[in-house]
């Protein structure tokens, strides 16, 4: 695979992750009344904790996804081995 493509795709993924995180933490932490032009202290500390939890959730999901991928590959390998044994 093309290394430049891989790098671009990874960067796109991080940009996308960042945008979703910013959007979700805004929804969860910012009052929807928008009376002030600035963020209140409570809204800012809420968003700090939100980022921290979001990144932790990202790690946990990564582990689950990795395991699922490995399980799927193993299954495909078993299937290929079985076919070889039957064919050989």
């Amino acid at each position: 695979p093309d290394p430049l493509f891989a790098a671009t795709t990874e960067m796109e993924m991080y940009t996308h992750l960042f945008n979703k995180m910013a959007s979700t933490c805004f929804e969860k932490c910012a009052s929807r009344k928008h009376k002030e032009e600035d963020l209140a202290l409570g809204e800012m500390s809420c968003s700090d904790r939100c980022v921290s939890k979001y990144l932790e959730a990202q790690e946990k999901v990564g582990v689950v996804l990795q395991k699922a991928n490995e399980a799927q590959m193993k299954q495909q390998q078993n299937f290929a081995d079985m076919q070889n044994a039957l064919g050989g």
């Binding site: 993924m13 904790r49 921290s52 939890k53 959730a57 582990v63």
Partner: protein, 78 residues
């Protein structure tokens, strides 16, 4: 094609994180996930992957059926 698959799996990753975060995390009083939130996020991801696989099977069955119908129709038309 390989490039599309890579993009798809990365976008699936982001979507899983977003979805399971939205469903499982409602309190922002601490900066770490508690036990309940952690298990909810992990189960949510595992369950979503399983459902996606099942939906994929049903979708493939449907497409095979449609192709067969199209082929039969072409055969009958000769």
């Amino acid at each position: 094609l390989e490039q599309m698959q890579m993009k798809d799996s990365l976008s699936m990753y982001n979507n899983l994180v977003e979805r399971c975060f939205q469903t499982c995390i409602t309190s922002f009083r601490s900066k770490s996930l508690d036990k309940h939130e952690t298990s909810c996020v992990e189960h949510c991801a595992a369950r979503y992957i399983k459902m996606t696989q099942r939906v994929g099977l049903r979708f493939a069955e449907h497409q095979a059926l449609q192709q067969k119908r199209a082929a039969d129709a072409a055969g009958a038309g000769r």
